[in-house]
Amino acid sequence: MAEVLVLVDHVDGEVKKVTTELLTAARRIGEPAAVWVGEGAESGKAKLAEFGAEKVYSAPSELNDYVVAPKAELLAKLAGEKSAAAVLVSATPENKEIAGRTAVKLGSGVLTDVVDITGELVAEHSVFGGATVTHSRVRSGVPVVAVRPNSVPAEAASGAGELEEAAVELSEAATGAKVVERVVQEKGARPELTEAAIVVSGGRGVGSDDFSVVEALADSLGAAVGASRAAVDSGWYPNQFQVGQTGKTVSPNLYVALGISGAIQHRAGMQTSKNIVAVNKDPEAPIFELSDFGVIGDLHTVAPQLTEEVDKRK
C-alpha cells in the first residue's frame, strides 16, 4: 500500500488533535506516514502510532527557521522518494501555503479547505462561507490536500510508528525569508481555537475590554474563546482569536455568538459549525438566520444565567 504523508501539527512536542484526524483520513487512502519537523518526534510518535502512523519521518528544527519553503522542499522530496499517494496537511494559513509550494514542486495540484475525503481521493469542499458544497480531485501528480480541522472524526488504529530520520538539503531560494524572532502574544489554558469542540465568541455587544462574561461561559463549557473583528479592532481581545474571513475558520460542534451581528465576513469563519447559539438584543440581527437557538436579549444578563445553569447541570 502506498504511503500517505501527513504533516504533523504539534506544539511543544504535543500532537494536535487535527493531526489525528488527518491520520484517520489518510488510512482511507493508504498507509499513513507522519512527517514531524522540529524537536519531540521521539516522545510524540506514540500518539501518532495510536492513530495508525506506520512511519514517522523526523526532520531537524532548522527547517522552522525560514518561512514555509523548507517544509515544502521536505514534503516534495519525501513524496518523490516514497512514491506517496497523497500529501495531507491541516488547512491553516501556513499549512495551505506549504501545500501550495509542495504541489508546485511536485507538478501536481492543491485542494484547500477540504471537509471530507474518500479513499479514491475525491475531496468535498465547503465554499462561499459554507453556502455551497463542491467535489473535486487532483487529476495529475501527487495530490496535496489541506483538510479543515474538525472535519474527519479521529478514530484510533494501531500503527508501527517506526521513527526514521529525514533530511533535506535546502535550496538557496528556500532560505531567503529568515525568521529572526517569534513573538508569543497570549497562550491560555483554554483549548486551541480552530480545534475546539465548542467555541464561545464575543463581539461589539460585549461593550468593553472586560471579556469575562464571554470567558466565564467558555470555561464552564470547556470551550475556546473567539472574537469578532469589531471586538479585536477595539482592542478588547487579541488578534489571534479573531474568527472570520480574515481570522480563523472554525467548525466546532457548538458555536456561541454573544453580541455579534453576523456580518458576512464573520459568517465566513463559523458558518459550518454544527450547532449555533446566538444572544443578541436586536431581533433583526442576521446571526439569527443561521442560529439553531437564539435569545433576543442583553448578553450581560443572558450569558451569566446560561453559565450558571451549565454549572448547575455538571
Binding site: 501545500a99 509550494r101 484547500t112 531567503g176 488578534n239 480574515t246 439569527f288 435569545v295
Partner: protein, 259 residues
Amino acid sequence: MNIVVLVKQVPDTATERKLSSDDNTLDRAASDGVINELDEYAIEEALLLKEKHGGEVTVLTMGPDQATDSIRKALSMGADKAVHLVDDELHGSDALQTAYALSKALGTVEFDLVVLGSESTDARTGVVGAALAEYLGLPQLTLAGKVDVDGSAIRIQRATDYGYDVVDAQLPAVVSVVEKINEPRYPSFKLIMQAKKKPVEKLSVADAGIDAAQVGLANAATETSDFAPAPPRAAGTVVKDEGDGGAKAAEFLAEKKFV
C-alpha cells in the same frame, strides 16, 4: 522602489447575499465584480511604501474584460499604471496556474516588491502568494501585519497562531498582507478623474511568454466534478428573553447533550 500590486476581481459578497432575496436592483449589482477586499489593503500598503521610498506602483490583474473596473478603482486609489493579463486561454485556471501566469506577467515589469492579499473572498485558497514566491524563486514574506523596508532589506511581522514572527529578507520579495496592516484610503474625486488617463497595458498569454499548455481549465491539475447548495440549516428557535433566556439556552444545550 518599484512595486507591483496583485489585484483580483471577485463577486461582491455583500450583494450576493441579497440576490437570494430576489431584489432586482441588487441583482444587477451582484453581477458586478469588486476588488477583492484584502487587495485594497495591499494597494494601500504599496502606496504607503511609495510615499516613503519613492518609485512607482503598478497594478497587475489577471481576469476577463470586466476586471477593468477593479483596475480603475486601484488606479483611483493612487496606483500609477496597470497591466491587465487578459486572454480566453486563461479561463478556468486553478490557483497554481494563476500563480504561474502571474509569475510570467511579472517578467514583463520591473519590480523590487510584489504585494498581494493573503486570501481572496471567493476561492479563499490562500496559496497564490506562496506559489508565486516558489515560481519566482523569491523570498516569501506572506501574512504580513507590518512591513518595513530599509534600503534593500525588508522586515515583516508574519501573523501566526500564537502571535507573530519577525521575518527578514532582501529585496526583491513577495509580500502578502492581512487586514490589520492598515486602513485603505478612499479615492478622491481628483484621483478618480486622473485614473481615467492612467495607462493600462493589455497582455495576452503570448505577450507574457506563458505556455498555453500550462493554463486554463483543460490543463488544470485540479478538477471540480460537481457542486450544490449546502443543505439548508433547519430553521432554529428564537426566544425573547423574559428573564429566563439563559435558562432556555441551557435547556437547548442539554437537549443537544453539550451539558
